[in-house]
């Protein structure tokens, strides 16, 4: 146990030993540094270039036909009179309803699985399935929505309605919301939970007062990602039966509807060039709507972060 002091090497030995045992080779290591920095920079710049090229072509094609008339008009057989208002309204309805359905259910399920559920075969089964569901193609969700929401639940949903569509998309993004919620909750250190329990808090009091507020920014980030996926969703909506030619705004949950991606797809698949230009205009409106939605979510997130101190 005691250290043998007399076995220490002579004074000049350490330096000699260091030189012989390590080949420091700084030049080579810094070279690798530079190579990987350049590679990472290249990867970044490639994605930026592709993205700006996409944006640029869209803007060049679409800005010419993008005007107030386009935004406030219903679709038409003539490209110069066609507008996107029906699809824009449909998308706004969809996103509002999707957020309303998916946020409480997804966050609730995430909280249950992460904070309350015991680790047994059932929760593991649920967990694996949620992971798999996130990877299921959206057309499958569309067919499910067609069978369940459009056909079976027709008395409630009104068939091919905005309600059926938003329920279908909610299902589609639920796994993303649940997984994001769990990740956000898992990132909260246990010391915070223990502090609450040690003061005589119940599980829900600990979650409600400490864990959830701390995790909320992360949960909202997940919600932003999920809604960004939902706003571009086309295949499942076509399966559910979103109409492609609608000349009225949705009046209620059971109303027929269309959405911007569907409208854009419809215009692009027409032979006339004029329709391709207004499709580009539609894409600009879609991106603007996405930006507004994400901006709102980021604003909410920052507000919660400030409240948290």
């Amino acid at each position: 146990m005691e250290r043998n002091i007399s076995s220490r090497p002579p004074e000049n030995a350490p330096k000699a030993a260091r030189e012989s045992n390590f080949a420091v080779n700084l030049n080579r290591r810094y070279m690798m540094d530079r190579i990987f920095k350049a590679a990472a920079w290249g990867a970044t710049i490639i994605s930026v270039i592709i993205l700006s090229w996409l944006l640029l072509t869209i803007l060049m094609d679409g800005l010419g036909t993008l005007n107030w008339n386009f935004i406030t008009s219903f679709p038409s057989r003539k490209a110069e009179r066609a507008g996107i208002i029906a699809a824009l309204a449909g998308t706004v309805w969809l996103m509002g309803l999707v957020a309303l359905f998916a946020f409480p259910i997804g966050v609730g399920a995430g909280i249950y699985l992460e904070e309350f559920a015991e680790d047994n075969w059932f929760t593991q089964f649920v967990e694996i399935n949620i992971g798999n569901l996130a990877g299921v193609p959206s057309i499958i969700y569309g067919l499910l929505g067609l069978a369940v929401f459009v056909r079976i639940m027709e008395p409630i949903t009104g068939g091919r309605s905005v309600l059926s569509g938003s329920l279908t998309i909610s299902l589609l993004i639920l796994p993303i919301v649940i997984v994001a919620t769990r990740e956000a909750l898992r990132a909260i250190p246990d010391s915070l939970r223990l502090a609450g329990y040690a003061l005589g808090a119940t599980r829900w009091q600990v979650v409600r007062s400490h864990v959830l507020p701390a995790a909320l920014p992360g949960i909202l980030t997940g919600m932003i990602l999920a809604l960004s996926r939902a706003i571009g969703e086309t295949a499942s909506l076509i399966a559910v039966g979103a109409a492609v030619f609608i000349s009225f705004l949705p009046e209620g949950l059971n109303s027929q509807f269309t959405a911007m991606p569907i409208q854009i797809y419809n215009w692009i698949s027409r032979p006339q060039d004029e329709f391709h230009y207004i499709a580009a205009s539609g894409i600009i409106v879609l991106m603007a709507a996405l930006l507004v939605m994400n901006g709102l979510a980021i604003y909410l997130r920052n507000r919660f972060q400030q409240e948290k101190l």
């Binding site: 250190p189 915070l192 502090a195 003061l199 005589g200």
Partner: protein
């Protein structure tokens, strides 16, 4: 290896002082691993009892038995009887949430809530249905933790903005705000600098008149400075490659440090160990 000798621990509290906490043949399992075996321990009211011993000897595990924090670890299982004010608390009949209001805890790493200093103090009071005046409670608790003068002008600021030592005293203030009878401290000074450590130790002396304090510490000087009694735990290697802790000796602190009965204790407190 010497076998655990519970006899020395029972005799440690022979006087007529009333017993706040009592462990009778307490063993804790993590899964199928026996982590601590057959601990007998009496903790008298208004005293400071220190748990010392090498890592893995189960001193923190035993500490967490007293406020049922082991309940939160799904694989942990506690056997034996634990009594608080003569009432058994290890059974299913006692509600751990209610128990934890009466047996407070301070952790190794300061863990204030990411909220204002004021809210840190009032949270425990709110959830436990405190009836009195909250401003008065905050001032009383912070004074009790010797923190009031340092923070009285910034009660609305975040508890995370304080220094490590101040954060730990905030955690103590938060613990005493719900008027517990016992405060458990799990290495409360191991993340603090020496000046902050001294402040917390002085605070413990002040708190002794109102509360019973159990402290786990790796710092033997600290144990000898603050505690009235000291329990020395040791760990032995098990067949499965794990460690099993047991109580070696429990006595008045002077006796443990100057005249221990067990050789292991003597080796440990004199630094000739581990």
């Amino acid at each position: 290896m010497a076998s655990p000798t519970p006899s020395s621990s029972i005799s440690a509290v022979a006087e007529s002082k009333s017993i706040a906490l009592k462990a009778e043949k307490v063993s804790v399992y993590y899964g199928s691993n026996l982590a601590v075996k057959d601990v007998y321990l009496d903790i008298p009211e208004h005293e400071i009892v220190a748990f010392i011993g090498p890592s893995g000897c189960g001193k923190s595990t035993i500490l967490r038995c007293f406020n049922r924090m082991n309940d939160l670890i799904p694989i942990a299982k506690v056997e034996g009887r634990i009594l608080f004010d003569g009432e058994e608390i290890s059974g299913k009949r006692v509600d751990p949430v209610e128990l934890r209001r009466r047996v407070g805890m301070v952790f190794q790493k300061p863990n204030p809530f990411p909220k204002s200093i004021y809210d840190n103090i009032t949270f425990g009071a709110k959830i436990n249905g405190y009836q009195g005046d909250y401003d008065e409670l905050v001032e009383r608790s912070l004074r009790g933790a010797a923190l009031w003068d340092e923070v009285k002008d910034k009660l609305k600021e975040s508890g995370l903005g304080l220094s490590g030592g101040q954060q730990q005293r905030l955690c103590i203030a938060r613990a005493i705000a719900i008027e517990p009878e016992v405060i458990l401290m799990d290495e409360p000074c191991s993340a603090l600098d020496p000046i902050s450590t001294i402040k917390v130790e002085e605070l413990m002396h002040d708190l002794k008149s109102k509360y019973t304090i159990v402290i786990v510490t790796h710092n033997m000087q600290q144990a000898s400075r603050v505690s009235d009694r000291t329990a020395f735990f040791n760990a032995i290697a098990t067949d499965k490659g794990g460690k099993m802790g047991y109580l070696v000796e429990y006595d008045k602190t002077e006796a443990i440090f100057s005249n221990p009965k067990e050789e292991y204790t003597r080796d440990y407190v004199s630094g000739r160990f581990g």
